[in-house]
């Protein structure tokens, strides 16, 4: 079939070229429309349900909102697990879906359930579906600044103008505000006055509620005109509130002014923003799932320009985090590497081939191959990012291989034909026939090479979890590029060869490069054939060195991607107040801005932006540090040194200076579950009990061999002030629990009773006791609860102080309550020394040990409690289930392919002996470059595996063919034949390996964003191909000759 295709193409040359013009156009348009981001989204596919219940403790949120909510959400189809967390004033339900579930389908299913799940919610709890954005969605942060504007004015501009305008931009899912103050009308009531006038706080609230409404009253006609009738009564100012009447006291109206003060003030907040040490307000733009961030940011910027005109004078929108730079940088790194690769490849080919036309033909594979890869990416839905473009980058060298083989073959055949016919020019028909014949000859090997590369990548496709999401784009694009290259090699290249392989064609023996190669290679090979044992011993030494180096190399999941901006994340202990954290943030930001000259600006956020995708607690500061261009840096300053300097200079007691990067941090913040190798989850309703069991387990697991520092999490950490109602006392005064609770909620906590409507803007009206009368335990005692009934002879209801009704106490409580599938859990984290014991074995042993303890009664797990084992060992189990078979299948398929090609086992044996040696070169280079062993490296090795196999296969097939032709009988003959085969292949072999190695050099020397991920991936191929080529050109002939010689001797 391949032969037919080749022949068909060569006979319809115009059609082929026309088709490729179309492919080119389509490819370019695909390339332009492919969404571009810096890194693939490696977060789990999750839908977040966000519940807000302002002012409530984590315990209340868990019991009254999150628990009923999760019970209702359970049973949503395709959900892997429902995890939830309850924090102060809000809760999150993370519904983790199976991979490859359609995102919007999943959201719809959650929405269906949500309707039902909401029914048991407290009235004032607000439950919403999170925005349709992922962790990678926070693409643009900005501040709203103005010199003469106060923070609440700026926040109003952000909340009521900027926010909605930016939300309207195509591709934006949500714009969340952060920092500044939300304006609020604050009615501060003096309880003593209430007491004096004998009214309760509820009266005050009721009065305000009843005094804020506009109504319509249809129309009336007058003189043929219809008048629309309105009743105006919205609160518009402080005075409006002050004049609200509560009742009548001894003949005079009692107004709000008589019982308290009305002021404009800031609403309670759980987040703040600071720029260079000055408090600011701002927002974050969340991009919709699956959108193209580059384009969305572009549109946002256009929109900002549009609306800037409408901003009050002096107010500007200033971005402080913009993904564009990073995306462009990393794409630039890769595209410039790609371009350099292409140029270098053309050059290398030219050197080896010594024919410009031929070189150009081969190099056509690259641009068109890449475009075909983009077409396929667009169709399959693979986005452009570091990983997917990296897949193309590591494919470049290999892509030209088939082209090289093909063109070289046609070239040689043409020269041979000319010599045979002894003419300088062949007729068209002859040229065509030579082209067809020569192409058909290599058609199968080209296809074979493609198959081996694709098959060897199968294990990458079956990777699951984070690694899977990170590397599958790469596996896809590499495969696409290879497919593209193969298509071109079999259709377009023969056609082009027909047109362009003309003029002076030198015979191989006249080729200068070939001459040099032959001159050096021949004696080397001869010597090796004589001293086979030494060669084998050297190979074994290399093998052992590589293996031992491999075993001592350090491991990491992923090499770090340099995101450009830094994210400084100082964290205080749980329980720190917003004021305290704010102080720390401002001082640190001033230092970072003023004392580090490399810093352009620093904007810090503490606590949360008002979006479901930001669960940060108040004690967490996230400062985005924009750095100046490298050329403005101090001499000798590196990113690493800068990080150390910032951490040193901002060091404060009790503050942990964590330095990370914006995107990575987002992904981490939204990750849930256990990320240590082994974890035990203790499920149960009572937090104290599960904590206790966890701590016991910590001790038990520590005794198991191989356990490294097991740690049971402690749930307490926040200071709670509890008011426990004494029912006996309450009964004595005839007071209901709800009466006391209302007072605690509104008097102490404050409550927004109504919302003003002032044009587009809306502000809450909050009622609360005066600050100095409620913000310390002593004063809380004298907060009065009115009795429900009038006592005999009393002028009104009695006012009973809180101290006589409740027990006050300070206790430690949870700062966050986590649960999974509706059940709260405590986690025990275990690291395992994997040099001592395998993960899966460790878990087995630990499980036995725990069971033993339970059976012997040393560990008591009460009814309603259970433990479950989790952690990354699950991934290993899963990998064992999937990866091993897939690797076996891949290997088997390759072996079957090889057997089909050679029909004998001897070749397979030699291949099997040579391939490990190829891998060792990669390990040695990694060691020399001080790279860690990461999944990226492993992917590099898989790529190497394919290339190395191909090269060895080509040489072996030449050897086989030659031996079949010559049938050598003596040792001398054998060696001569082997040498001949070697010489025949040395040029193409060197050409393919050199193109691959040299093509990867731009990647190896790249420095921009993204290079840090690509380098470890390229290194195994570069290093491996060096040993692979040596093994190929020396060890393969040696082993082959050895076997043949043995056969004769037998």
């Amino acid at each position: 079939m391949i032969n037919k295709i080749i022949e068909g193409c060569l006979r319809n040359r115009f059609l082929v070229i026309a088709a490729f013009v179309l492919v080119f156009v389509f490819g370019v348009s695909s390339m332009k429309n492919t969404p571009v981001d810096a890194i693939p989204d490696i977060g789990e596919l999750q839908v977040i349900v966000y519940a807000e219940w302002p002012g409530r403790s984590p315990q209340d949120v868990e019991d009254q909102v999150i628990y009923p909510l999760t019970t209702g959400l359970m049973g949503t189809p395709k959900v892997k697990v429902v995890r939830s967390s309850a924090g102060f004033g809000f809760g999150l339900v993370n519904m983790i879906f199976e991979d490859a579930t359609d995102y919007y389908w999943a959201r719809t299913r959650v929405l269906e359930r949500l309707d039902f799940a909401k029914k048991d919610m407290p009235q004032d709890a607000v439950v919403t579906l999170g925005p349709d954005a992922t962790a990678l969605g926070q693409i643009f942060w900005y501040t709203v600044e103005g010199k003469d504007k106060s923070l609440d004015e700026l926040r109003s501009i952000q909340d009521w103008f900027v926010r909605y305008q930016l939300t309207s931009v195509e591709g934006v899912s949500e714009v969340a505000s952060v920092g500044g103050y939300v304006k609020q009308y604050q009615v501060d009531v003096d309880p003593n006055r209430l007491n004096v006038f004998n009214v309760s706080l509820l009266h005050v609230m009721e009065a305000i509620k009843l005094s804020n409404i506009d109504v319509g009253a249809k129309v009336f006609e007058e003189g043929g005109v219809e008048y629309v009738v309105r009743g105006l009564g919205f609160i518009k100012s402080i005075e409006d509130i002050e004049q609200i009447v509560i009742g009548v006291h001894q003949g005079t109206p009692l107004t709000i002014k008589d019982v308290g003060q009305v002021t404009l003030g800031p609403d309670f907040r759980r987040g703040a923003l600071d720029k260079n040490g000055r408090e600011v307000t701002g927002g974050v733009v969340l991009m919709r799932f699956g959108e193209n961030p580059l384009k969305v940011i572009e549109r946002i910027k256009t929109k900002i320009e549009e609306i800037s005109v409408g901003l009050p004078e002096g107010v500007t929108i200033v971005p402080f985090y913009d993904r564009t730079g990073l995306i462009k940088d990393s794409i630039h790194t890769l595209s410039s590497a790609l371009t350099q690769e292409m140029i270098i490849t053309v050059f290398v080919i030219a050197v080896f081939l010594f024919h410009l036309g031929g070189s150009i033909i081969i190099s056509m594979v690259l641009p068109i191959g890449v475009l075909i890869a983009f077409i396929l990416m667009r169709q399959v839905g693979v986005d452009a990012n570091i990983m997917s473009l990296g897949g193309i980058a590591i494919a470049i060298g290999v892509m030209v291989d088939s082209g090289c083989v093909l063109v070289e073959n046609i070239y040689r055949k043409l020269v041979e034909k000319r010599e045979e016919r002894n003419v300088n020019k062949l007729s068209s028909e002859e040229r065509l026939n030579v082209c067809i014949e020569a192409s058909q000859e290599v058609g199968r090997p080209v296809l074979f090479a493609l198959l081996t590369t694709i098959v060897s990548f199968v294990p990458v496709f079956v990777l699951t979890g984070q690694a899977g999401r990170l590397f599958s784009p790469l596996a896809y694009t590499k495969t696409f590029a290879m497919i593209g290259a193969a298509i071109i090699a079999l259709t377009l290249l023969p056609t082009l060869c027909y047109f362009f392989l003309r003029g002076r064609l030198r015979a191989v023996k006249d080729n200068k490069t070939a001459k040099i190669l032959h001159k050096n290679y021949t004696p080397m090979l001869r010597w090796s054939l004589k001293n086979k044992k030494i060669v084998v011993i050297i190979s074994l030494i290399v093998l052992v060195t590589g293996l031992s180096l491999g075993s001592i190399m350090k491991q990491e999941f992923m090499p770090p991607l340099n995101e450009g901006d830094l994210l400084f994340m100082p964290v205080l202990m749980p329980g720190a107040s917003l004021t305290q954290v704010m102080e720390v943030m401002q001082k640190q930001n001033i230092i970072i801005k003023d004392e580090i000259p490399e810093v352009k600006q620093v904007v810090g956020k503490l606590g949360r932006a008002e979006t479901a995708t930001d669960p940060a607690p108040v004690v967490m500061i996230e400062s985005i540090i924009n750095l100046k261009d490298k050329k403005y840096w101090r001499k000798g300053m590196t990113r690493e040194k800068l990080i150390v300097e910032i951490q040193e200079k901002t060091k404060m007691p009790g503050v942990s200076p964590i330095m990370t990067q914006p995107i990575r941090n987002r992904i981490d913040m939204l990750a849930t579950g256990i990320q240590t190798p082994v974890g035990i989850k203790v499920f149960g309703a009572d937090l104290k009990e599960i904590e206790k069991i966890g701590i016991q387990l910590e001790g038990i697991v520590a005794q198991v061999d191989g356990a490294v520092a097991p740690y049971a999490e402690r749930i307490g950490g926040r200071a709670y002030f509890e008011m426990d109602i004494d029912r006996e006392q309450a009964a004595r005064y005839g007071i209901h629990v709800q009466d006391i609770q209302d007072l605690i909620m509104t008097g102490i906590g404050g409550m927004n009773v109504t919302t003003t409507v002032e044009g587009r803007e809306r502000y809450p009206v909050r009622v609360r006791y005066m600050r100095e009368l409620r913000d310390n335990p002593e004063d809380l005692k004298r907060i009065f609860v009115p009795t429900r009934w009038k006592w005999e002879n009393a002028p009104g209801p009695l006012q009973i102080p809180l101290a006589q009704l409740v027990d006050f106490r300070k206790v430690a409580g949870p700062s966050m309550i986590l649960s999974e599938n509706t059940m709260p859990y405590a986690r025990v984290f275990v690291n395992v020394d994997q040099s001592k014991v395998g993960l899966v074995d460790f878990v087995k042993k630990a499980q036995q040990k725990v069971e033993e303890e339970i059976n012997q009664g040393r560990l008591n797990i009460p009814a309603g409690y259970y433990i479950s084992w989790s952690g990354q060992f699950e991934a290993e189990l899963e990998s064992r289930k999937k990866l091993l078979p897939s690797m076996m299948i891949a290997l088997l398929v390759i072996l079957i392919l090889l057997y089909m090609a050679f029909k004998n086992f001897r070749v397979l044996g030699i291949l099997a002996g040579v391939l490990p040696l190829s891998l060792m070169g990669g390990i040695i280079l990694l060691f020399v470059l001080n790279f860690k062993f990461s999944t990226a490296v492993w992917v590099g090795f898989i790529a190497l595996f394919g290339v190395a196999t191909d090269n060895a296969v080509v040489l072996l097939s030449t050897l086989e063919n030659l031996f079949k032709e010559r049938l050598p009988k003596t040792v001398e003959d054998i060696r001569a034949t082997v040498t001949e085969a070697g010489l025949l292949r040395v040029r193409p072999a060197m050409m393919t390996t050199m193109t691959t190695i040299i093509a990867l050099l731009p990647v190896m020397f790249a420095t921009g964003s993204g290079s840090e991920i690509m380098k470890p991936m390229a290194a195994p191929t570069v290093g491996g191909l060096v040993t692979a080529t040596l093994a190929n050109l020396i060890l393969v002939p040696v082993l082959y000759a050895w076997i043949k010689e043995k056969e004769i001797q037998d």
């Binding site: 007491n195 984070q466 350090k554 491991q555 770090p560 205080l572 202990m573 749980p574 329980g575 720390v584 990080i643 951490q647 060091k651 404060m652 007691p653 009790g654 503050v655 942990s656 964590i658 990370t660 990067q661 990575r664 981490d668 256990i674 240590t676 190798p677 104290k688 490294v708 520092a709 402690r714 749930i715 307490g716 950490g717 926040r718 310390n776 004063d779 005692k781 004298r782 009393a794 009695l798 006012q799 009973i800 101290a803 006050f808 106490r809 300070k810 430690a812 690291n831 395992v832 990354q872 990998s879 690797m887 044996g909 099997a912 002996g913 490990p916 891998l919 062993f933 990461s934 595996f945």
Partner: protein, 395 residues
């Protein structure tokens, strides 16, 4: 053939083992992408690593270098903790933790200290009251005065019966006054002066204030306690006086007790029936009867519910966390905005305590300190149930 199989074995082994090595470590070493570089300085070696959010996490240097660079709970990079060389010191009683902090960091954290001195402290109680308009009491006083007068007359007279009747009238008038809230001394004085307090019905140079306090405040309000009255009408004006008497009977309905105080009324601004906010300042006397007590500034105390901790500056960047026992929150004599706790145990006079930045120091002690301290512990059952309620603590 056997050789070939062996060679096959090698290749399969190579690939699969490299895959395993990867898979196994994938999760546990999710480092890298975070650029966490432990800050190493000239002083002190890194003793272990911990998490800023979860201080009870401790990872040894060895494990850290082998890749445990993230907090198992929140996946955040761990922070290096340097040994401060005071690992093995024995602690005095009450000392729960020690920590050393560098001068620059102290300055940055805005740490402020204050020398603890002895002060006279007052317990402050807020209440509301009215300027007395009490014709009933005035009449009762009048009755007593006339009863005494008639008794005096009767004594000089011959009729024994009249004197007896007058005596019983005097006695019943006294009882009535007692019930109305006058103290025995006040009655005795009235007997002597024979002057009815007209300021109970009309504005005068001194006025009576009637206010209510609750059962739980009773131990703190005594005869002679200072009192400050702020009439609702005159914003910012204050009137001073002292508590003269406290009703002997508690109102059964509200569990409150009426007190009477006499206050200066310059310019006769206070009128009967006016509402006033009242602050009662009652002298704090420690269990040994001392009036001058060690006064701990309120902001120096970290109360976790489990323990009350004060950080003492020992000089040279050394800080010591102490568990303390304190009395009720009180105010200073000179300025009632300055709040203190009388120290019953744990702090000596003249010691420097941290009044600002103590939360940070306490946090630091959990990271580097020798013993984990206040916040960030387990959910233990609370030992202190009800300890903040009602009665003065420390007795």
């Amino acid at each position: 053939m056997r050789n070939k199989i062996r060679v096959f074995g090698v290749i399969i082994l190579c690939i699969t083992s490299s895959v395993y090595a990867q898979e196994g470590h994938k999760g546990s070493h999710v480092d890298g992408v975070h650029e966490m570089i432990p800050a190493v300085t000239e002083d002190g070696e890194i003793s272990h690593y911990t998490c800023g959010m979860h201080p009870s996490v401790k990872v040894s240097v060895e494990n850290y270098e082998n890749g445990d660079t993230k907090c198992p709970i929140c996946f955040m990079p761990l922070t290096a903790v340097k040994s401060s060389g005071m690992r093995s010191q024995a602690f005095d009683e009450n000392v729960i933790s020690k920590v050393e902090i560098k001068a620059r960091e102290l300055k940055l954290a805005g740490v402020q200290t204050e020398v603890v001195i002895k002060r006279q402290l007052f317990k402050e109680i807020r209440s509301v009251g009215t300027v007395a308009y009490d014709p009933q009491l005035a009449i009762a006083q009048d009755e007593l005065v006339s009863a005494i007068r008639s008794l005096d007359k009767a004594k000089t007279g011959a009729v024994r019966e009249i004197a007896d009747r007058s005596q019983s009238m005097v006695d019943s008038s006294k009882r009535k006054l007692l019930l109305l809230g006058l103290s025995a001394e006040q009655i005795a004085e009235l007997e002597k002066s024979k002057e009815v307090q007209t300021n109970l019905i009309l504005p005068g140079e001194k006025m009576w204030i009637y206010g209510d306090i609750y059962e739980y405040e009773l131990p703190w309000v005594k005869k002679g306690s200072y009192i400050k009255a702020k009439p609702i009408g005159f914003a910012g004006e204050e009137f001073y006086g002292e508590v003269v008497s406290i009703n002997p009977v508690i109102d059964p309905r509200t569990r409150s007790v009426r007190f009477r105080a006499l206050i200066e009324n310059p310019g006769s601004k206070l009128k009967p029936e006016m509402y006033v906010d009242v602050e009662i300042l009652s002298k704090y006397v420690d269990p040994d009867g001392q009036e001058e007590v060690i006064a701990l500034p309120k902001s120096a105390l970290l109360d976790t519910g489990r323990r009350r901790i004060v950080w003492v500056n020992k000089g040279n960047g050394q800080f010591e966390g102490r568990a303390v026992v304190v009395g009720p929150e009180s105010v200073s004599h000179s300025n009632e905005l300055l709040k203190f706790y009388p120290v019953l145990k744990g702090i000596k006079e003249g010691e420097k305590v941290v009044i600002k930045g103590n939360f940070l120091i306490d946090s630091q002690s959990q990271i580097t300190g020798v013993v984990a301290s206040s916040f960030g512990g387990t959910l233990e059952p609370t030992e202190q149930k009800g300890s903040m309620k009602g009665s003065p603590s420390g007795h």
